[in-house]
Symmetry: C2
Subunit: 421 residues, 2 copies
């Protein structure tokens, strides 16, 4: 008989978690290291202890709940996601994956299965990029470079202040990497965050790979001048240059890079009053592609565009790349395990790439990794109206459970070459 | 012999005032009711009391220093400007006019002149528009409408909070109006804030009139969506619409309204992160024209543009006009007095309109008003690098003094019809 997760128990936990950092519009505000985020992580580990699991926090602040194997030298199969959110986020993104991982491990424990691997449910630090983006998972994968810490997406000043406040150090963060030989794989359950599953009427998405992304901070500098006395032709208006760039980004990616996306997610003008021509505009921009070479070309086209625009309007330009995540294909054996688990449950599946970045992107570089997606209503995510039917949440978690049991059992039957770092 | 102001005394005061709210880049941050602004106003009245002048504060928080006339029923000739600044402003805008007014009154007092009018140096509240814009002068002129208080430029919430904090009430503010029959005129010394005087090599500008201006808050609403999973053609990106509007404003005013200016001084996007398509963009926009009908047409063209742009990008739009100041011609007799005073000092003059709004705009509606401008280096203002040669500051103040004595003496010789409100 197939194991199933406890839908009611998981639902109660889901609702309790959604209260932490809840916003009046039904969403979640749980940016990295905010009070709500810290509270959610503490709540997660408390629930794990109540279930009889071990808990630990590593030096990159990743929070784990562990069901050890009988053999203390056994490898670990990890299941996880993240409890942080974007500033005005939804209740499912990240949270479902962490709760699903916890529920799968509780189900295995309840069934008293004797697996040849340890199971670890992990809540990775700062997936959404308040500070860096997929920070905890890259740290664990040993792929967090000092240069990324030097010019992080949220600004160096904020990073230093938050590390200090949370008792983290850069040495500690860089030392959070795990020996790949100790890992048996990584599985992540997540909402799709796009419309493909809903449009196709398919229950379960099996991720073929995660697109790569690059993020940039661009500063357009002109002259802050009196808006009443400075003639139109004597202005160096940073907002005008920024506006031309925003339209150019859209045109460039639409016309020349049809498989990609690019977004100016934030524009901030200074000094920012009615009666002063903006002297500075600071933009946050990112672009994504499933192919590394195409991502290179897209990056180059957008940076060239910024130079053209600032030249046209007589502005100065500073461009800083503040993040680059390589496209990451998932593991074929893991994909099969997820697909088989879904089929055994009578669920329909489709393979699809993930346009969103995920912690699995970091893990894929060091251990066999895979992701299972469930439909997002209207394709909405990163917004308070983000929603997934509860039945789909449970379906995805049962697929995660089935694949976990299959891969864990399998892991005992394979000789794995030990890799020394 | 011509009276002259005391350059050294005024310079010492100017330097002391420039310390209050000084920023590291040599500028001033003295937005309305900030600690620095409150301190500057207290300092001004303290200096006035040291000079033996009376001081008072009216129910719109306008700060005055008064040299009474021998006849307690005499009318008042006002001289003034403002001590508040834009968020990152310079040391001359407003401050020169208040200090010049104080210095003129001290010079008249030192010379023991027996004028048939009282002289009042006044520091008007919130000229720059942290809350409303030329707020104190419009209140004094009885032209502050309840509707302006209901939808102020800095937002209703901020207005209510600041009124509460500063002990102001709306009834009090509306009751701050002066009976025009008690006034003999209004003079204001100000830096030009544009390049005309410097380019022409002229010492003194005599303002023919002040351009009218309108300010708007525009909110572009789209959908906040995941920047990685939402295809380009499925987006309602508020930043893209805002960008098209910013470029359109520039094109509209440049092509169709050559004598006018229009500025988007601020763009704020929400939620404002790399990986979310902006769901909302809030813009602050203003436009100016020397002619009321042209200002009407410009307003209409820009609002139509906003509707066109939001239609094109599938966005929702909210437009709120948060300020309108009518064009205000200056008084011919006051212009003559200023010109004659300059000529008597051997200074060159030119007549010019003021592209900047000023407190004189409000006063012109109720009493004969005029303005004298001195050159701004590079035409720069509303910026830390704003600068006027000290000799020009002194020249302007001496012109203010000469015109004050002439108009004051004159005022005693004219029968003025008493107006009942």
């Amino acid at each position: 008989m197939l194991l199933r997760v406890d839908s009611d128990r998981m639902r109660a936990d889901f609702d309790a978690l959604a209260e932490i950092g809840a916003t009046p519009d039904g969403g979640i505000a749980r940016t990295t290291f905010s009070d709500a985020h810290v509270a959610a992580r503490a709540w997660f580990q408390e629930r794990a202890r109540e279930a009889g699991l071990e808990t630990h926090v590593d030096s990159a602040a990743n929070h784990s709940a562990v069901l050890p194997a009988r053999d203390p030298g056994a490898r670990t199969l990890m299941l996880g996601s993240h409890l942080d959110s974007v500033p005005q986020g939804g209740r499912y993104d990240g949270a479902l994956g962490v709760l699903g991982a916890l529920e799968v491990i509780r189900a295995v424990k309840d069934a008293d299965l004797d697996l040849p691997v340890a199971l670890e449910a992990i809540d990775f630090t700062d997936e959404e990029g308040t500070l860096i983006g997929t920070f905890g998972s890259y740290a664990l994968a040993g792929q967090l470079s000092p240069s990324l810490l030097a010019a992080p997406r949220g600004g160096r000043e904020r990073l230093v202040a938050e590390f200090e406040r949370m008792g983290l150090t850069e040495d500690g963060v860089l030392a959070a990497s795990r020996d790949p030989a100790t890992l048996a794989g990584y599985l992540e359950l997540h909402i799709e965050q796009g419309p493909a599953l809903e449009r196709s009427g398919i229950d379960i998405g099996i991720v073929t790979g995660i697109v790569g992304s690059s993020s940039f901070r661009l500063v357009f500098e002109g002259d802050a001048r009196h808006a009443g006395t400075t003639p139109m032709d004597a202005r160096r208006d940073a907002a005008v240059g920024a506006a031309a760039f925003v339209l150019g980004v859209r045109e460039t990616v639409t016309c020349d890079f049809p498989g990609c996306v690019a977004t100016v997610g934030d524009i901030a003008t200074e000094p920012g009053s009615f009666n002063v021509v903006p002297g500075r505009a600071t933009l946050r921009m990112e672009c994504r592609s499933p192919d590394a070479a195409e991502l290179d070309a897209l990056e180059q086209a957008l940076v060239e565009l910024a130079h053209e625009v600032t030249g046209e309007f007589g502005l100065d330009l500073t461009v800083e790349r503040v993040g680059r995540f390589e496209p990451a294909p998932t593991d074929e054996r893991v994909r099969s395990a997820l697909t088989n688990a879904a089929l055994a449950l009578g669920l329909t599946t489709m393979e699809l790439p993930s346009g969103a970045g995920h912690d699995a992107q970091a893990l894929a570089a060091i251990t066999p990794s895979g992701m299972v997606l469930v439909p997002s209503v209207g394709g909405i995510s990163h917004a308070p109206t983000e929603h997934t039917a509860w039945e789909d949440c449970v379906n995805g978690t049962n697929v995660l459970l089935g694949a976990t049991v299959a891969l864990a059992s399998d892991a005992g039957e394979h000789v794995v070459p030990v890799r020394h770092p």
